[in-house]
């Protein structure tokens, strides 16, 4: 039986984190993500977890990585400017393979931008924000129920791949109240994964020696006998710095490869009326909600439109997007930025179908009617 509850987006994220096993949260106040910290401050002490409000965004990111090394499932949440500040330590988490979840509730940017209004301008930053090459999973849910699903999934993949995972929300999702079926989130219903532990005796333990899945089994700090070293420098299997060119190249290739090879399992999209579609809309987050309505409106007018809602935005659903381009006459990418994910869609389409844009960066959502108008324009253009 369904157990329906009206839930606030940011609170749903916090509650799901606790269900996924999160026992450490460090944060810093920033609109529109602060309610996640407030909820965690309330929930964590009751389940024996640690909450700390740090002195700044950088410190919050550092603290969750420190706690992650101590064995905690750890999370922080932020928004635009705070996400920028976290980037260096996010890169450190990637390099040292510290599992953690970083939530970015997107607002209008750049700079202080539009703190209380929606944006989708961190699509590229979520992957490329920190310096150096990297590949990290980035999930972007589309409703409050899905915020819970994706928060749990973010923790699970962070643990399995020993990587930071970014969970993108946006101001509308974070501040939206929606019905959630809590029956789906009882302990017996949800799947919770934990990081692997070393299986070798202490004297053979090499913290950064990867397993067959390219993921190393690093012992939680404090595990007797399993002492180790972690550094943001290029390092060998012992975790100690190296400049050996072969080892450095292999390290970066492995860090990317471990996420890439999980891509088929990581990929998550929702297809809506795509079977016979001639115009496909590719969208995510709040914009995908408007796109869904636009598809219905187009269908009422006899236009064969469909929607591919991308949930795992990185690594991108490369083959799915390529197949889609072969299958339709045109693709439209509406997004609340000046054209970010459209670049990836164009890359994956490989010229199989023309890719159109609908962009906005003024803090307002894109309405279904506007998407419909653009779809009609594309169809009338005879393309």
């Amino acid at each position: 039986m369904a157990k329906l509850e009206l839930k606030y987006g940011n609170h749903a994220c916090a509650e799901a984190a606790v269900l996924a096993g999160c026992r450490f949260y460090a944060g810093y106040p920033i609109t529109p993500s602060s309610e996640i910290a407030e909820k965690m401050a309330e929930l964590l002490p009751k389940v024996g977890g640690a909450f700390i409000q740090m002195e700044d965004e950088i410190a919050a990111m550092g603290a969750i990585v420190g706690a992650s090394f101590a064995g905690a499932k750890a999370m922080t949440a932020t928004s635009g400017p705070g996400f920028s500040l976290k980037q260096e330590n996010l890169g450190y988490a990637f390099m040292t393979e510290a599992p953690c979840v970083v939530v970015d509730v997107q607002r209008g940017g750049p700079s202080t931008g539009l703190p209380t209004q929606i944006g989708q301008q961190e699509i590229m930053q979520s992957l490329w924000g920190t310096h150096g090459d990297k590949l990290i999973p980035v999930f972007y849910p589309g409703n409050v129920q899905e915020i819970m699903v994706e928060t749990i999934r973010a923790f699970n993949w962070a643990e399995r791949l020993r990587t930071p995972v970014v969970l993108l929300l946006d101001e509308v999702l974070g501040h939206m109240r929606e019905t959630v079926d809590m029956e789906q989130f009882t302990p017996d219903r949800i799947e919770v994964w934990n990081r692997k532990k070393p299986e070798v005796p202490p004297e053979e333990y090499l913290p950064y020696k990867p397993g067959e899945d390219d993921v190393p089994a690093i012992a939680d700090y404090g595990t007797p006998g399993y002492r180790g070293h972690a550094t943001g420098l290029h390092h060998d299997y012992t975790g100690f710095p190296t400049t050996d060119p072969e080892m450095c190249q292999e390290l970066i290739e492995r860090l990317i490869r471990k996420v890439k090879r999980a891509q088929p399992e990581l990929e998550k999209n929702e297809e809506y009326m795509l079977d016979d579609a001639e115009v496909a809309i590719v969208a995510f987050g709040t914009t995908a909600r408007a796109a869904r309505t636009a598809v219905q409106l187009a269908r009422e007018k006899g236009i064969k439109a469909g929607l591919l809602r991308v949930v795992t935005i990185w690594p991108s659903p490369e083959e799915t997007l390529n197949r889609l381009a072969k299958h339709v006459k045109a693709i439209l990418v509406p997004e609340l930025n000046m054209g970010q994910y459209v670049l990836e869609v164009e890359r994956c389409a490989k010229g199989e179908a023309p890719v159109y844009r609908l962009n906005r960066a003024n803090g307002k959502i894109i309405y279904p009617g506007e998407i419909l108008e653009k779809v009609e324009e594309i169809v009338k253009g005879g393309k």
Binding site: R23, F24, A26, P45, K46, V47, G48, G49, A50, I52, M54, E55, D56, I58, A59, A60, M61, G62, A63, I64, V65, G66, A67, S68, F69, A70, G71, A72, A74, E88, N89, Y92, T96, Y221, G222, P224, G225, R227, G228, H229, A230, T231, G232, L233, F240, P241
Partner: protein
């Protein structure tokens, strides 16, 4: 380090060798550098306190002193520039049972990491900070730091430094640190005692270690490494003796020893986890 003497024999004579990752030696430190003295003092202190390798986490940021954890056989984290205390705070809060030591320098802790330093002190979290104050950015080649003496030369002060120095100890006390001490690389055994008391202390401890950057600061300011060590001998004195000096004779003299010690303030993680115990029944 290649040696034919079996490790057990060395440890018998020098028990603090058990904390060293000798396979990672030699260290990156320059000849005459004082970081090794502070590192040795820390290992000796841990040994005397009977704290095992498995009970210690050592965290650092970026810089010469921040390379220390690599040579320490414990749970070690070499993190980002200035941020060691943030990682250490997360680690210590989640696993308070680990003795947590931060190795840092004047640039790392006071310039880029200044904010974290004052807030860790304010929280009075049980972390022992060994701050190597060598008056310069050594690893990047000798730029001016917040503790470079006025008039001194650095690669970014070719006409002499015209900024005033930070008084690290005063700042730490003002921010809320509950154990603040100053030692030097010259006074090795005294330093061991200061670090030992810092580790024993429940709360935020700072041990400032005046340490010569022989190759870079020394070269820039025409001081040999002997001169630098003797400078510490001649210009520092025990805090009790310093206090007895009349005001006019204090100029240029630096007090050593325990500058501040307060056991009355509660420690951060103890306060937090006792609150959690009330709310949750103590389960993690």
């Amino acid at each position: 380090m290649s040696t034919n003497i079996p490790m057990e024999k060395i440890i018998e004579k020098k028990p603090y060798f058990k904390y060293l990752r000798l396979d990672k030696f030699p260290t990156i430190w320059c000849p005459g550098c004082g970081i090794g003295q502070a590192f040795r003092a820390t290992c000796m202190a841990l040994d005397e306190l009977g704290i095992s390798n498995d009970q210690v986490a050592m965290v650092s940021g970026i810089g010469c002193s921040s390379r220390t954890p690599g040579y320490f056989d414990g749970f070690t984290l070499h993190t980002t520039h200035g941020r060691a205390l943030t990682f250490a705070t997360g680690l210590k809060l989640y696993k308070p049972e680990l003795t947590t030591i931060v190795f840092t320098g004047d640039g790392d802790a006071l310039a880029i990491g200044g904010n974290h330093f004052i807030h860790a002190a304010r929280r009075n979290i049980d972390v022992t900070v060994v701050l190597i104050n060598n008056w310069i950015y050594g690893m990047t080649g000798g730029q001016v730091s917040p503790t470079t003496p006025e008039g001194a030369y650095a690669t970014t002060t070719p006409y002499g430094n015209y900024e005033p120095q930070f008084d690290i100890a005063k700042m730490a006390i003002a921010a809320g640190a509950t154990y603040v001490a100053r030692g030097t690389a010259y006074h090795a055994m005294e330093l061991k005692k200061l670090i030992m008391d810092g580790i024993k202390h429940k709360g935020f401890s700072l041990i400032e270690v005046l340490s010569p950057c022989t190759i870079i600061y020394g070269r820039k300011n025409r001081m040999s490494f002997e001169e630098m060590y003797f400078w510490f001998k001649e210009n520092t004195l025990p805090v009790k003796a310093w206090e007895k000096l009349p005001e006019e004779k204090r100029a240029g003299k630096i007090p050593r020893g325990v500058l501040y010690h307060d056991d009355s303030r509660p420690e951060y993680t103890e306060v937090y986890w006792s609150k959690v115990k009330q709310l949750s029944g103590g389960e993690k």
